[in-house]
Subunit: 191 residues, 2 copies
């Protein structure tokens, strides 16, 4: 497999399509179209060390529950169950993005970072988007006072039985990472 | 939040960009650009009941290990650790896609489906791509005889200690779902 060259197909501010020409295992010419938040995309820049966004898995210490949000997602035309998440600002650390986004989206405060993943890829058939999964302890009282006008968020506190019920509900939209974490939490009762 | 209308911005065969105009919580006009494998995208078609693809989490019964693949991903310009996965063919069942893709990518055979998720969303900030996570038992001897010429895949068998090491290695690219499942498997030793 041999990457030859990459062209930008659109010229939009936040998200673009790119086409990469490559040779397959037989040396035959092929092309792959994908989307990126990066410009140029990572396979051109070689920037593999920084995620685009953080996904926060928050455990509320005093309530002893996981925090899940029900959020309006334009792309899904309705509400989705997911974890708080957000794009990293330029120069921001992962810890800072986690603290800022959790506060903005839920009103809760990060008290401790338990662990975090390296940059890992959302769906590498269609995008080079990378996220860091950050498991944190948090505390405080939920509030949507800091939601932006484009955000419409409800904060839920989820124990193992509620996690099991959410995972089984086929009539709700849910983020895939959230489904995997909630299923595991439903079985083990811990993060 | 009020969805107004959606325009197709590109005209490509497999993946396109769309722009959705909507009113935010204050009634102000906003727009969101995203990508979809669907045409029209799901928020236009209302097709929420079928995933685009399956992601297979295979447990090899006789070896008592998880199966992970190291696969060349054009979008990432190199190899990524992930689970076997693939797009559903028109009219195909989830079980059939799992059996076909696991065999094509690894040479292994699905012996039992343990559980599967509803359609869940890869990254709903940028795409309406939905996958079903399917946990299966499998058996057989790994082979890449059925790899397509655009596929370059190595099959690995992973126990809890190897899963822990893979999750900690920041110099390797890994799919986010795989990271979450491997981390959990490293702790519990079970799926």
């Amino acid at each position: 497999m041999n990457i030859l060259r990459t062209h930008k197909l659109t010229d939009l501010p936040h998200l673009n399509l790119y086409r990469t020409h490559y040779e397959d295992r037989n040396g035959d010419p092929k092309a792959w179209v994908f989307t990126s938040r990066q410009d140029p995309p990572r396979l051109v820049s070689g920037k593999w060390d920084t995620p685009d966004a953080v996904v926060i898995v928050p455990y509320h210490v005093s309530r002893q529950k996981l925090v899940v949000i029900e959020e309006f997602r334009v792309v899904l035309g309705g509400y989705q169950y997911g974890f708080p998440a957000g794009l990293m600002d330029p120069g921001e650390t992962i810890a800072a993005t986690c603290g800022r986004e959790l506060l903005e989206e839920t009103g809760l405060s990060v008290s401790r970072i338990l662990r975090q993943s390296p940059p890992v890829y959302s769906s590498s058939g269609i995008t080079d988007e990378a996220v860091s999964m950050v498991f944190v302890e948090c505390d405080g009282t939920p509030s949507n006072a800091a939601n932006e006008s484009s955000e419409d968020i409800r904060t839920l506190f989820v124990g193992p039985a509620e996690a099991q019920a959410l995972c089984a509900a086929a009539d709700r939209r849910m983020d895939v990472k959230t489904w995997v974490v909630l299923w595991s939490f439903a079985q083990s009762g811990t993060l």
